[in-house]
Subunit: 285 residues, 2 copies
């Protein structure tokens, strides 16, 4: 996953179905660097950065929730390969005005979370002859290998808490709950539910200064969507709430963009590490 896509495998054209933030634009850059010649963007009104559209060869903006228009736009792009990049605010899933097709798709889902919704979307796209590639194919330089990324390494207490937080986050993530936890002195202060990573960091930070946070993907996570992402805003928030170390999952977390995030961590004195996922169960207490 860290290796760039071999040039021979890079498609001539690519459709980027783009949510918010810098992630879709970095996918565009990565795709161009990997030899993709034409890049179309499908953007969502109110979500997708204009910079993402500007970086594309062509861009179409549609409202979130209009499945018929989404399908038509994918077809019209003429691309045989697509990637999903950038989040949709999960609350948008509840608040969007949806067309009949979207409502039917959602009603047919047994569980309705970001993962099941996006998996259904990927199936729908692929059933129309468009292959969905993992966006990580084009993002190798933003996906860290194991090790300390920041200038400051975690101290002994932070290192112990990071290892514990990573293990607990894996357990939580495997229950399909959320991707992040906040820990101090071996106590789980906060667990991500539907509220997302930022709210979880705020809650944990309120309970104790000097806590650590971990963010992971679950085993068998589908890297075509819902990839764990952290960015400079994550670091800024940590600094604000007094969380002093962050452990992301090595090889499976997008750090966007990596040089900027490391710089922000160094300025804040935050220890940033990429942790290899151990295969052992939670420790017996």
């Amino acid at each position: 996953m860290n290796a760039p896509l071999p040039l021979a495998a890079a498609p001539e054209s690519l459709l980027v179905i783009a949510g918010w933030g810098v992630f879709p634009r970095l996918v565009l850059e990565g795709a161009r660097a990997n030899g993709v010649k034409r890049i179309s963007v499908l953007a969502f009104k109110g979500s997708t950065d204009r910079a993402t559209c500007r970086a594309a060869d062509d861009c179409r903006r549609i409202p979130f929730g209009d499945l018929a228009l989404l399908r038509e736009s994918i077809r019209a792009s003429g691309c045989a390969r697509a990637v999903l990049a950038g989040q949709i605010n999960p609350l948008a899933l509840f608040r969007a005005r949806m067309d009949r097709g979207m409502l039917e798709e959602i009603a047919a889902l047994k569980l309705r979370n970001a993962h099941t919704l996006f998996r259904r979307l990927v199936e729908d796209i692929e059933s129309r002859g468009v292959e969905v590639l993992p966006s990580s194919l084009f993002m190798g330089r933003h996906i860290p290998a194991p090790g300390t990324l920041s200038a400051r390494a975690p101290d002994a207490r932070e290192a112990a808490d990071l290892a514990y937080a990573h293990t607990i986050a894996m357990g939580v993530c495997n229950l399909d709950i959320g991707q992040s936890v906040v820990v101090k002195d071996g106590v789980v202060l906060a667990v991500e539910g539907f509220d997302g990573t930022n709210a979880t960091l705020r809650r944990g930070g309120r309970l104790a200064r000097g806590a650590v946070a971990a963010k992971v993907a679950k085993e068998g996570h589908d890297m075509r969507f819902d990839i764990p992402v952290v960015g400079t805003k994550t670091i800024a928030l940590m600094r604000r709430v007094g969380i002093t170390a962050l452990g992301v999952q090595a090889r499976r977390t997008l750090v966007l963009d990596l040089p900027a995030v490391v710089q922000a961590a160094d300025r804040a004195g935050i220890a940033l590490v990429a942790i290899d996922t151990p295969l052992q169960p939670a420790p017996a207490l």
Copy 2:
């Protein structure tokens, strides 16, 4: 556990080490109903209800965090059996002024949460020749068997969400995180961390109206302390934040007091059920 303690086994005298709320007083009532003749209370300043003290044959109030005084008070009670009943606000564990003995005990713990602290306390008490009994021994009528407790049964959607919430809560609890979760439409909205059940209900309720909540004990939970408890305040909070159904773990959750909680649930139109936990034996007491 539902059966009252056989009279032959009821101790002559009992020490109730009492935290906040109605739980310790109900233990006193249960102990008297089970034939205990003399009941001493050890109360914590700023935590324990005065009604708990008044119901005892003798009561001593000490500050939380003074381990030397705690040990001396236990000895002075002359009781050979004790129970722990009623919570200590977990934040008190961080904020209390602690004596040297308490600090040393805490420093020696690998993990510092309510469970490890109280387990250590129980060990300390038992090492001084006082046996710690599960408080549930005296609380049979407040520990529900499986079934619907409220007038209103959960509807089909609530029932599906309650089953899912119960399973997820077991998984979370077995990771030593917290005891409760809030779910709607198969999505985990909120997970209890160090912030406690009430904060979790508030967070979940904010994210969606009509959610359900589950509260459980973990497998092998030590019923001598840290027993899951819900009460009328839980129901009042659920009503306020729009959570419409609550599933507690049958045979292992204290519902305090049960008739008052059922009445409160019925007034609020809340469905209250005791859910049998699959795949695990009844806890050894």
